[in-house]
């Protein structure tokens, strides 16, 4: 830094930034960022609390688990108070009848015989209390393709 620089710096420092125009000053003062006062927040929280007390959440729809529909229809005690959940623990399927439906010859060398079968299913369910059980029995049909032996 030489003497000329020092002199120039003195001249510069003798100056000051030009004044801010009045219109801009007013604009800036008006633009002051506002933040909510603490009691605005308190009032908002109080309003939420009032709403919560006035309209409490429906506890039944929130807390009650819905049992599976298939189990619920067969549950011996169908009271709404019964919250046990039953799961299948054993199944026995009995073939009671077989009918021939027809022969499919999509491939002449490998014809297929369609068989209609009739079944009775016995399913045992156990409740999540570990003690209660119940059985459900229902029939069903099923068509089974069977390869025919040709000679």
């Amino acid at each position: 830094m030489n003497i000329e620089d020092d002199e120039l710096e003195r001249r510069l420092q003798a100056l000051q930034p030009a004044a801010v125009p009045e219109a801009l000053t007013a604009r800036l003062q008006h633009a002051r960022p506002k933040r909510p006062h603490w009691w605005y927040l308190a009032a908002a929280m109080a309003a939420v609390a009032v709403l919560f007390l006035r309209f409490p959440p429906h506890t039944e729809t929130v807390s009650a688990p819905i049992p599976p529909p298939a189990v619920a229809t067969e549950t011996p005690v169908e009271s709404l108070e019964d919250l046990r959940v039953f799961l299948p623990i054993e199944q026995t399927s009995t073939l009671v009848k077989v009918e021939k439906v027809g022969v499919l010859e999509t491939d002449p060398e490998r014809p297929i015989q369609l068989m209609r079968t009739f079944w009775v299913d016995d399913v045992t369910y156990r409740g999540d209390d570990g003690v209660s059980t119940f059985q459900r029995q229902e029939s069903r049909t099923e068509i089974i393709p069977v390869a025919l032996q040709t000679y």
């Binding site: 120039l8 930034p17 800036l28 603490w38």
Partner: protein, 174 residues
């Protein structure tokens, strides 16, 4: 809990009264016209005040924000349309009441400085920042800030020695 709104208003106005001249000068140096300078200044002051927790922020942060906002404005404006680039027709600098008088030649010489030199000179002379603070504000090394400051003085000294030039002022681009 924080100060009351009236106290906050007082401190905001007080901060503006103390620092807005310096910040406006820097905003003018970073923009192309007075309206842009006002917009950039307002956005930057509001943003930095809020980020500082509704109290006066560091000057270095304000200068850095003004610079960033000016660059953003420049880019968006350029994308939209290339405006006629006009020079400032107002004086950026003033004399205190007890000073010897306004020095238009020196004011014009400052305005004509290349932007990368002018911004360092302004925050150093009228912002009162150290070279370390300038480095943070302008995102340049401190050594670079110091050398640009010396180059700015060189430019000014040469400009003041030259006979008066009647060419229109060059545009000021960030």
């Amino acid at each position: 809990m924080d100060a009351s709104p009236s106290t906050s208003t007082t401190s905001w106005n007080s901060w503006l009264g103390q620092r807005s001249r310096q910040f406006l000068l820097f905003a003018r140096s970073q923009t192309r016209c007075e309206a842009d300078a006002h917009d950039v200044l307002q956005d930057s002051l509001v943003e930095t005040w809020r980020r500082a927790g509704h109290k006066a922020p560091d000057d270095a942060l304000v200068y850095a924000t003004i610079r960033r906002r000016a660059i953003d404005l420049f880019r968006s404006t350029e994308r939209r349309q290339r405006r006629e680039q006009t020079a400032y027709e107002i004086l950026w600098l003033d004399q205190p009441a007890d000073g010897p008088g306004i020095d238009p030649a020196l004011d014009e010489a400052v305005q004509r400085l290349p932007n990368h030199l002018r911004e360092v000179l302004i925050v150093r002379i009228w912002g009162g920042l150290t070279f370390q603070q300038i480095a943070l504000s302008l995102d340049i090394p401190a050594d670079t800030a110091a050398s640009r400051y010396r180059y700015a003085l060189d430019h000014l000294r040469k400009a003041m020695k030259q006979p008066e030039v009647s060419q229109p002022a060059s545009p000021h681009l960030p």
